[in-house]
Amino acid sequence: MKNIFISAVILVASLQTLKSQGYGPGELSINYNLAIPTSDLADFTSPASFRGLNFQYDYFVTDRISVGGYIGWSGFYEKKEAQSYSFGEGDVGYAINGTRYNYFFSLPIMLKGQYRFIDAGQILPYGALGIGTYYTEHETYIGGYGFKDKNWTFGIAPELGTLLNLGQSGWAFKVAAVYNMNFYNKNNFNSATYIGLNFGFNYDF
């Protein structure tokens, strides 16, 4: 047991080496988020979401590995032209026709591990994995009828991206693609997945 503890301490201590590139162990980024719905979410709201933002923090424990987290949101919306929807409840059948308004709001709060494929230079590509929760607001309305449901569900988000350093300023452009896997298995959804495209700025301090 003592040996494990000592090994762990040595491991943590050995991770605490300064990054060879940049100014400090911390990095902040703010990103505009464009989101393309897939699977069940695409059926519900097919257009891409142009409303989204996220904020990220990464703490580099080695030159290449960081731990951190992010919070963001994407708002999906679709107005579907009038059509009939049929459903049944026991011995009674229903059909309802009207213009339908669908809304899906997704707010990921993630812990993130990142690995930089290259640790020096102007272009710093990386792969990352986020694990955490998605807060969702799921709404649909037809006529004056509808429902709104709020949930917190588990999710993971693999990510590929790159930094494009702006000289030695500590600032960089950031471009990334994130596959959001929100395991939202409620209200006729098996999952709510979407591809997020991040465009933003990264500050190394």
């Binding site: 409303r51 923090y57 708002g75 059948g93 059909a95 009207g98 213009t99 709001f105 707010l107």
Partner: protein
Amino acid sequence: MPFVLLLSLNLLFEIMRLFILFAGLFLVLTSCNKYPNDTSSLQDQDLVITHYDATVSWPAYKTYAIGDTVLFLKNKAGRVEADTGYSQYNNRILDNINNNMVAQGFVRVGKNQNPHIAVDVTLINDANIESYTSWYGSSWYWGYPSYGYYYPWPTTTYYKYEVGSIQVNFLDITRVDTSSKRIPLIWGSQAVGTVSSDATYNATRVDRAINIMFEQSPYLKK
């Protein structure tokens, strides 16, 4: 071990900073406008709701009779409100229903020729309707004075009591319950807000809504 302690404190501060940062950001994020603004027209608010008894054998219903007028609902005081101009659509509504019934394969008969279905058409011209228990019944017309109507299922039925809504009901007068004096309603369809104050648009809305009532009821087709 002071180095490890220092390291732990450092990490702790980082985590605290992160937490404060994220808490602040959460507030900012949740106050943002989530969706684009939508523009909706009058037609976007139209709604046609149909409910039906899924336990009956629909092909067995072959004939129907229909009244020659559109009824109004009673208000809370138990009175029928005066016509506020909606009755001008009576013939248009009834013609549309007849055309659709015939297209579905039903045969229209007189009310004394033992129809399978009695068709009641109601127009809601008063916003103060309490519930469908205050239905302005036409049971006398069908030969069952003082009889009431009922839905043969226990679940809630979706209704909106908006002025101008058209309600079409199928009464199963082959199964009138003479002991409890009740007539089952086996099909009901409501076009919500279809007759509006926009006179120029009303005619097309009436046509469209009644067609949808039947289009979304494929089991009626013979």
